[in-house]
């Protein structure tokens, strides 16, 4: 048995959520999916370790969840949209989670994004036909 290689595997700093990752992180994603229901969120909060056991998490994955190691959870292959159901209510945004990959703060990450705004109107004017107020 072998996981098929893909032409997206070589894109630097990029982890595509494909069968291999979806398979290895299935229980993690399922646990986070349950957080769509408030009663499940409360059950988790009352006893995180027991809740992990209920979803059959491996000891390694259970530790990541109990310790709220968001970067570790992502590195374990969890899908970002599912992690969001766990980290966002705990004050960690998706941007903060992305920043953690680069070892920078969420604010630094947002600063870098804001630089995309510089010269945008000029770029659009050069392209032509874009609305600009």
């Amino acid at each position: 048995m072998v996981w098929q290689a893909h032409d997206y595997d070589d894109i630097p700093g990029t982890y595509v959520f494909d069968g291999q990752r979806a398979h290895s992180s299935y229980a993690l994603n399922k646990l986070f999916y349950s957080f769509n229901t408030e009663a499940c969120r409360k059950e988790f909060d009352a006893d995180p370790a027991a809740y992990c056991d209920k979803f059959g998490l491996s000891p390694e994955h259970k530790q990541l969840v109990v310790e709220q190691d968001f970067l570790g959870i992502l590195r374990a292959g969890t899908n970002i949209y599912y992690l969001a159901k766990f980290c966002v209510p705990r004050g960690v945004t998706v941007q903060d989670a992305g920043a953690a990959f680069q070892g920078i703060s969420g604010d630094e990450f947002r600063e870098t994004l804001l630089k995309k705004r510089e010269g945008l109107e000029e770029r659009l004017a050069q392209e032509g036909g874009y609305w600009n107020g």
Binding site: F32, Y33, K85, G98, Q102
Partner: protein, 281 residues
């Protein structure tokens, strides 16, 4: 017969919904982004489509990863929004058009697009925020809506070309419906962004603008790219821009662009708005 009166593209990110809820759409960060919808609002007000078909991806509300349909269509009288895990207040339910939906499903499946038909379908921010940004918030929405979900989350995803061809089939499906209704198709998502990995935070303005131009004038340039090629430029989450091609395929060969607007950054993304009408053949 039903008629396609136009197509719109829009972002669907959560932050857009939050900005509407928080009443900050005219604050500096948001103003240029939201103001860019004004011509679309005027067009919707004038044309008043009876039904909008919203092409979006679910992010783990209706579909879990246990079953990930490539293409799914709502076939219900009503669609409810729900808590996505963040405790946000759900919007008012959306009115569907079950008869029209079932016709679309039948026609698409006849045309070899094997849709997953959904008689219950919770709609998440990917669907809700486009409707909110186009119509504002309502207790009774002023338009009927049909959700058309594309899997852009769990690979393998459909190719960009497959999305375009779905749009072409959708055109035939819509135009073969016997009721005299006006329909608009909304392609949502994008544009370039990547949320995880060391490359998180990419926005490629040049690529986004090339995609917008392609969607208007030469969709083949966009749809002939592989998903890996698109991800390399637009990011793992930016791939969802392929859903715009469903809208574009539904409009026919040539279109008139009535409005185009681009802004970056909005949260992690480049955000593009297009308002297109089919050109006379």
């Amino acid at each position: 017969m039903a008629k396609i009166i136009g197509g719109v593209t829009t972002s669907h990110i959560p932050a857009v919904g939050n900005a509407i809820s928080d009443g900050v759409t005219q604050e500096h960060y948001w103003k240029r982004f939201f103001d860019g919808y004004q011509p679309v609002h005027a067009w919707l007000d004038e044309k008043k489509p009876d039904v909008i078909i919203v092409v979006y991806n679910d992010h783990g509300l209706n579909f879990f990863l246990d079953k990930a349909p490539t293409f799914a269509i709502g076939c219900a009288d009503q669609y409810e929004n729900a808590d996505e895990g963040w405790g946000l207040k759900p919007t008012a339910p959306f009115t569907g058009d079950a008869q029209f939906s079932w016709h679309l499903a039948e026609s698409l499946i006849e045309q070899e697009f094997d849709m997953c038909t959904c008689q219950e379908m919770l709609v998440d921010h990917g669907f809700v925020n486009p409707v909110r940004v186009l119509y504002g918030d309502h207790e009774h929405w002023p338009v009927k809506t049909i959700p058309l979900a594309v899997n852009t989350v769990q690979h393998p995803l459909p190719s960009a070309k497959r999305c375009f061809k779905l749009g072409q089939a959708l055109k035939q499906a819509i135009e073969s419906y016997p009721e005299d209704i006006n329909v608009a198709v909304v392609g949502t998502g994008g544009m370039s962004h990547q949320l995880q990995g060391e490359r998180a935070g990419i926005i490629d303005v040049d690529y986004d603008l090339a995609c917008m131009d392609s969607v208007i004038n030469d969709p083949a340039w966009f749809y002939n790219q592989s998903n890996a090629e698109i991800i390399e430029k637009a990011g793992t989450e930016g791939i969802e821009t392929i859903m715009w091609l469903v809208m574009r395929g539904a409009l026919g060969d040539k279109v008139n662009c009535l409005h185009k607007h681009y802004h970056a950054p909005i949260s992690n993304t480049g955000a593009g708005v297009l308002l297109l009408e089919a050109a006379d053949e």
